[in-house]
Amino acid sequence: MATPKRPDKTLGESLRAHGLSRRGFLKLCAATASMMALPASMVPRIAAALEQAKRPSVIWLSFQECTGCTESLTRSHAPTLENLILDMVSLDYHHTLQAASGDAAEAARMTAMEANAGEYLVVVDGSIPGPDANPGFSTVAGHSNYDILMETVEHAAAVIAVGTCAAFGGLPQAKPNPTGAMSVMDLVKDKPVINVSGCPPVPMVITGVLAHYLTFGALPELDGYGRPMAFFGQSIHDRCYRRPFYDKGLFAETFDDRGAQEGWCLYRLGCKGPTTYNACATMKWNSGTSWPIEAGHPCLGCSEPSFWDGGSFYEPVSVPLTANARTLLTAGAAGAVVGGTVAAVAKHRVKKADANRQPVTIEELEKKL
């Protein structure tokens, strides 16, 4: 069973117990600062803060999700920065990672909530069937996702919605949204909610947010969607290494043409990089090995709201979602009928007036005078 009480070890002690040297610790702080786009002068402050910080209790709730977000977080290569930072928190409840199951697991959650009331962090992955949906659509230990979420966040310090499902509804919310799926920020209004979107999110972004919280005791600067600016401040398009090809007008038009082989821009193959804000282009995946566009596939825009309903993954950003030639032809035909009718009526009126014309001669007019 997970540790019910908040651990007393500071982060510095915890990391030293893991065999991390002072030099290694400062490197970690520098990497954290650079990852969050903070100036180098902040490194000593980060070091001091992390040295003294207590490992916060984290309760990880999994709802309508595929566990991809957890996979993303855990599949990083040990011992990476991500793992080190993950070791910094006390993960008291997590379906996939905890050893306990059944009642013991639920008891761990309740104990962690009581012991750390007002201070624990709640991480959510997966969307939630809303209060009006059938509570049986998704349950944990016989309780609806909605009830568990509301009960758990009541005394939380903050909520981190990990993955696009938790942040924006994601796949479960895609039309016709059969489970009435809602995002965390749709439901949690009285606590700070930070969205770490992506399907799945970049692991460093998840850990980076936790590191920021530990360092500053506050949530980082957020964008309009509640996402940390340090990671979601710039679009894929703006940081894409293929951007020069876009600017030059060099595009791959199929997946096997010369453009694709030469690594040209994937805009015409449906790349959603221009409308997508995420850190893939800079942080990459699999310990910085590569990322989708580097692998030759257009960005799907997985970190944006409604990405499942935003049209085909393989249609360019500028293409309308449903309009086609048939819409245009049907409307044109209707217009032609309207125009033809109006013209025919006008012609008929002229003809009728012509037929009823009563000519008047000058003599007749003069007689009237």
Partner: protein
Amino acid sequence: MSDAMDFLLWTKGPMFNIAMAIFAIGLLARLVEILVLGRSTNYAEPRANEWMPGFRTVLTRTVADPGTFKRAPFNVVVGWVWHIGFLIALLLFIPHIELIKGVLGISWPGLANPVVDFFTAVTLLSLIATLVHRMTHPVKRRISTVEDYLVWTIVFLVVLTGYLAYHRLVNPYPLALGMHILCAEIFLIMLPFTKLTHIFTAFIARWYNGAAFGRKGVQS
């Protein structure tokens, strides 16, 4: 800002359908009405054929005659510049070609983005010049109507929002792109019911003119 993506998807989805339907219904209604009404019967015996002179005038009237150029060089030069710039941006920008391909299934080669960008900037400046000229020239000012200013505004907004979106000067980008698409949709909706219809009717009118000349046997 938080609904920028919803806004973009609305402009790309239902609003695009509405705009396209109003555009097609309105334009075809007007064109068919014009063509069905035709001209009043001319009982005079034709001196020559009217078809070829009609087409010739469609071309020759595209270039202003020396007299017009001498009287109003600004109108001719700036008018040409911004019309060409607008057409280049509309028809030769790769994302626009993809849009047309997505809707109509036809496509053609485009220009490199910096070239289109240059012409867009020139178009914007020319459009501003036309507005200043319209507001300062005593005759133009007097004959300008509300519709003239309305049409100028929507054309300018379409180009301006496109320029802002391309340079990513408005954040978040979905908002910038959505604004551009919405302006283009308003342009499409206004087109059949304002002077913007000249995009299509100018050529019909020129043909009628040329055909009348041809029929009378005068130079077209």
